[in-house]
């Protein structure tokens, strides 16, 4: 996926690093720290440059890609009254939060682990503004509102001005369009300031290859001091090779509430990163009875679609579909064997609760250039090592594939399965790509 969310802290750090290049004339203090425990926060406060942690009132909140932290009561800004949070309070609060699981209003749940701590910034509602940019359709769109904070999303159409900026628009035209669309309710004395900040914001968003960038609210204080109170950002990670030095080491965390990847998924992801081929695995339902090993991205989708359709139509459910993934782009024999080993290992860990057979779908469309016989060699090697386990779980194998050398591939895998006493049916391009799902699941 090209667009990847980054932490609020990393987004702010990028602002800070580039501040003088884009926002000279304004000032931004970048007083933020990212910690994973109270102890780490206390230790940070002893470091040079972070004295403010002990001197100022603080705000602490989780920095884990999800929004609406205020509504979820996950922003610590007061103990008794706003602006009285001390370092010790913040450390204690963090330690409390990491000690149990948290459920958000959306139903996502998990354990909080990353927190951003900043100084409390006293300001009035009038000083809060909203600004964001993203790509809609083919164009960039800049959104601006005189009203920042949580309420902007309610009454979005009335409160927010949009500026559509086509990819080939000149800077002069862009600046003109931004100026012409500054929200009318921005006070006269702040208007010029907001204009130049908005223009710089858009250039920063564009040049840094953000896919999405939102500050809500941005607070304009006296003396051109800007406070970025809340920030959400996604980067276009395909631009990584251009932005390596500018972005620095940036982390793409997993969304909160997404169960951490299993060791098997991690192992496949690691193999994928080292290979020229594409190896992907997501475990959807570890107890599921239908396991897939599908070649190709598009084919993996239609197999998943079809398995869901037939499972539901035949008294099963989506929970029957155990995994989603693909192996493609000409993987080596050993890569294919590793992938097959992993799937078979996962498939043979649990007996099916209803005592039904396990189904292994080895599917794929007609390959453009992958040598089918070669990739099947890896699967056959895996069968040879795992045949007994597969038989214990009454595994029924269904194969469908086409492409270079497919006749040999199909013949080899059929012979191997027969020799090993495995139940197998094999089909080539004359059979519809997903029809083996029907054969496997239709009752």
């Amino acid at each position: 996926m090209a667009q990847k969310a980054i932490r609020e802290y990393d987004g702010k750090a990028l602002f800070s690093k580039q501040w003088e290049n884009y926002f000279s004339g304004f000032h931004y203090g970048f007083k933020s720290v990212l910690v994973t425990s109270g102890a780490e926060l206390l230790a940070k406060a002893e470091e040079h440059g972070f004295e403010w942690l002990k001197q100022e009132a603080l705000v602490a909140k989780p920095d884990m890609l999800f929004g609406k932290r205020g509504k979820n009561d996950l922003v610590l800004f007061k103990t008794n009254k706003p602006g009285d949070v001390t370092l010790a309070d913040a450390a204690k609060w963090i330690d409390e939060k990491i000690s149990h699981t948290t459920t958000l209003l959306t139903g996502q749940h998990g354990t909080l682990s990353h927190f951003i701590i900043e100084p409390f910034t006293p300001h009035s509602q009038e000083q809060e503004y909203y600004i964001s940019a993203t790509c809609v359709g083919e164009d960039d769109v800049l959104y601006m509102s005189a009203e920042g904070g949580m309420e902007v999303e309610e009454g979005w159409d009335e409160k927010v001005n949009e500026v559509v900026i086509p990819i080939d628009m000149s800077d002069a035209d862009m600046e003109h369009a931004v100026r012409a669309n500054i929200p009318a309710d921005i006070p006269a004395q702040d208007k010029a300031k907001f204009e130049s900040f908005a223009i710089a914001f858009f250039k920063f968003y564009r040049d840094m290859n953000f896919a999405y960038l939102e500050i809500n609210p941005i607070v304009m204080l006296d003396n051109n001091e800007m406070a970025i109170l809340d920030l959400v950002a996604r980067l276009d990670d395909t631009a990584g090779f251009l932005m390596k030095d500018t972005w620095g080491e940036i982390e793409y965390p997993t969304a909160f509430g997404m169960e951490d990847q299993s060791p098997e998924e991690k192992a496949i992801a690691e193999a994928d990163s080292k290979s020229g081929a594409s190896l992907k695995l997501t475990i959807l339902s570890p107890m599921g009875r239908v396991w897939t090993m599908v070649a190709g991205g598009g084919a993996s989708v239609v197999y998943a679609d079809t398995i869901a359709d037939f499972a539901e139509a035949n008294g099963g459910s989506i929970a029957d579909l155990a995994n989603y993934g693909e192996y493609s782009g000409g993987p080596t024999t050993s890569e294919t064997k590793f992938y097959a080993d992993t799937i078979i290992d996962l498939m043979t860990r649990h007996k099916d609760p209803k005592g039904e057979d396990k189904i292994m779908i080895i599917g794929g469309a007609i390959a453009n250039f992958t040598d089918v016989a070669k990739t099947f060699t890896g699967i056959i090697q895996s069968f040879e090592e795992n045949a007994e386990k597969m038989k214990e779980h009454n595994t029924k194998i269904y194969v469908r594939r086409g492409g270079p050398n497919y006749e040999k591939g199909l013949k080899d895998i059929k012979e191997a399965a027969d020799r090993l006493g495995l139940s197998i049916e094999v089909y080539g391009p004359e059979t519809h790509v997903t029809d083996i799902v029907r054969m496997a699941l239709e009752k």
């Binding site: 190709g296 991205g297 598009g298 079809t306 869901a308 492409g403 519809h432």
Partner: protein, 604 residues
């Protein structure tokens, strides 16, 4: 443009991707194209000038170029660019090609081009009227006419999926893997496709479903269309819109894959980068039902798609909207082929009579043909028919350099060897081996340095300074005894010939200004015969339309020396025969002509 490609379409292939190009040529041979679909290859880092490929049982050479501009210059008719550059350079390659102009479509295969660059690239191409296929695609095919790279897979699969000749269906998909599958389904359940495009899996692709389907609507070979969409994006709604407002009238069969996504609220990315539903309307289910409502044929599931295609096709066949397609003849690509070790591009002895660059020997040999040795040289050395003024000049040069007396080192060596009792050929090569930078080499050197000075607009003064910096006397300048007042008549002859017959002599004109400066310093620093020949050869090639690069290659490869070698061989042979005739004895150099100065070797 009603058809994306025709049987005459030729492409420039960016990146020397040999397997993919071979697959294209196998396809071309199978469908009996007149010309290979790949006209040229751009390989910026290759030092080679061509790459060999099989064309059926034979081999053909496809020229390599260092840049798209160079390839396009030589192959102006190739209006398709197959951009197989990596995601790091694909953007630059496309932008350069759009800037160059002359491309009607550009296919971009790289996956993961930065989104902002992809948008800029797609926008620039669109504004220039260039159809971009991709990025992140296996490409497109017009069966029976033109196929991009690996699309369709192996030649066996192509024939099985009826991709070797135009059928009735226009096919558009996002996925490249499923494109083959759909072609197969359409071949089994209908009569194959007339044109197919896999638009690519990235979020921002150049041409989208609607662009391709509006073109197919105009293509008379396309009778109905199949669209395979995906979860995410709103492109399918543009098709619905086009059907509603009458822009698309042909029957459309469609299915969006990714219905699975509804079962998983967040997190799992099903399919391509472009495949992620941001709103209800972008889900596969919503799009499938919206398309069905608009009158598009939408099956109940992907598994039922073949049946739907079969029904639409059968109905159209029964209604007479589609007629049976006769199967065309095909050439079979041999299973076993052997690459040739040697290549010959100048002459051919396989026919009735040996030819020189296509001309039977008898057509250039006898006087009545009007052809001379200059013509033979132009055919065998340059594979071109030079005009008479140029072949006459070549002959003049050969005659002029044929001999320069017995005292020059090459002739002396040949004579000494002959007197040692060696054969004509042994004596000749001894003389020839003397030719090099100091003997005969001034022709090469003069051409090289004077051309360099002229190319860089050095005035005579600057040129002299430059040569001083190089630490060499100017080749082609200076004679032992001749001067402006006592001119070398060979030089006068060459110059007069050129003045009368050459269309122009810019380099000679320049050299004369240099000569004016050098002779003002010393009388005998005239343009000598070597210099005049080298310089006039450059003028000849310029007048014949060769590019500066080609002329530089002639100089580098020693072509100028070759004229001297041919000419002087005549003289050397004369001297050798002279020795034989005179039956001269073994030569021993007189000792009194040698300075002996041999101190005893020092002990170390």
């Amino acid at each position: 443009m009603e058809k994306l490609y025709t049987k005459d379409t030729q492409a420039i292939f960016w990146n020397n991707n040999k397997t993919a190009i071979q697959r294209m040529l196998d396809y071309d041979y199978t469908i009996q194209r007149k010309t290979p679909s790949v006209a040229a290859i751009v390989a910026p880092t290759s030092g080679n000038k061509f790459e060999k490929f099989f064309y059926g049982p034979d081999e053909v050479m496809i020229p390599l170029y260092k840049s798209t501009a160079a390839a396009k210059k030589e192959h102006a008719n190739a209006d398709v660019l197959l951009n197989f550059a990596s995601f790091r350079t694909a953007y630059d390659v496309t932008m350069e090609a759009v800037e160059l102009g002359g491309f009607s479509s550009i296919m971009v295969t790289a996956e993961g081009i930065p989104e902002r660059l992809a948008r800029k690239m797609n926008n620039t191409a669109r504004n220039a009227g260039v159809t971009v296929i991709g990025p992140a695609t296996v490409g497109a095919i017009a069966p029976g006419a033109f196929k991009i790279a690996n699309i369709g897979g192996t030649i066996e699969n192509i024939v099985n999926s009826k991709l070797h000749r135009a059928g009735s269906c226009g096919l558009v998909t996002r996925s490249g893997g499923l494109f083959n599958e759909l072609s197969n389904i359409i071949a089994i359940n209908a009569d194959g496709i007339a044109e197919g495009v896999a638009i690519g899996g990235d979020r921002f692709v150049g041409s989208v479903f609607i662009d391709n389907m509006l073109r197919m609507e105009k293509n008379p070979e396309v009778k109905y269309m199949v669209l395979l969409g995906e979860v995410g994006g709103t492109e399918e709604y543009k098709i619905i819109e086009a059907i509603k407002n009458g822009q698309i009238k042909k029957p459309v069969i469609a299915w969006c894959i990714g219905t699975i996504a509804k079962h998983f609220s967040t997190g799992v990315q099903f399919g391509h980068a472009g495949a992620s539903a941001n709103a209800e309307a972008e889900t596969a289910a919503a799009k499938n039902s919206a398309m069905a409502e608009a009158g598009i044929y939408v099956p109940s599931s992907f598994n039922d798609l073949p049946a739907t295609i079969n029904k639409v096709y059968t109905d159209m066949l029964a209604a007479g909207t589609i007629s049976e397609i006769p199967e065309p003849s095909m050439s079979l690509v041999p299973k076993v082929r052997r690459s040739k070790e040697f290549i010959c591009t100048i002459s051919d002895d396989r026919g009735e009579e040996c030819t020189y660059a296509g001309f039977p020997i008898s057509s250039v040999a006898t006087p009545d043909t009007g052809k001379g040795i200059g013509d033979v040289i132009s055919l065998l050395w340059f594979k071109k028919q030079y005009p008479k003024w140029a072949t006459d000049f070549i002959e003049t040069v050969i005659k002029t350099v044929a001999d320069h007396g017995p005292a020059v080192s090459g002739a002396h060596n040949a004579k000494v060897t002959a007197r040692a009792g060696k054969s004509v050929v042994e004596s000749l090569v001894t003389g020839l081996l003397t030719i090099g930078p100091r003997f005969g080499g001034a022709i090469d050197g003069a051409a090289k340095y004077f051309k360099h000075a002229d190319d860089n607009n050095l005035d005579p003064k600057a040129f002299l300074k430059y040569m001083k910096g190089e630490g060499v006397p100017i080749p082609g300048i200076g004679h032992r005894i001749k001067s402006l007042k006592n001119p070398d008549l060979r030089v006068t002859g060459l110059m007069n010939y050129a003045a009368e017959h050459f269309p122009a002599t810019p380099l000679l004109d320049y050299a004369r200004t240099v000569e004016a400066l050098t002779t003002s310093k010393k009388e005998n620093l005239i343009l000598n015969v070597d210099g005049t020949i080298g310089i006039l050869m450059v003028d000849m090639w310029r007048a014949l339309g060769y590019s500066e690069n080609e002329i530089n290659e002639f100089i580098e490869s020693g072509t100028l020396n070759a004229f001297f070698i041919v000419g002087r061989s005549i003289g050397f042979i004369g001297h050798v025969l002279d020795e034989k005739r005179l039956a001269m004895p073994m030569y021993r150099h007189p000792m009194d002509d040698i300075l002996y100065d041999v101190p005893e070797a020092e002990k170390l």
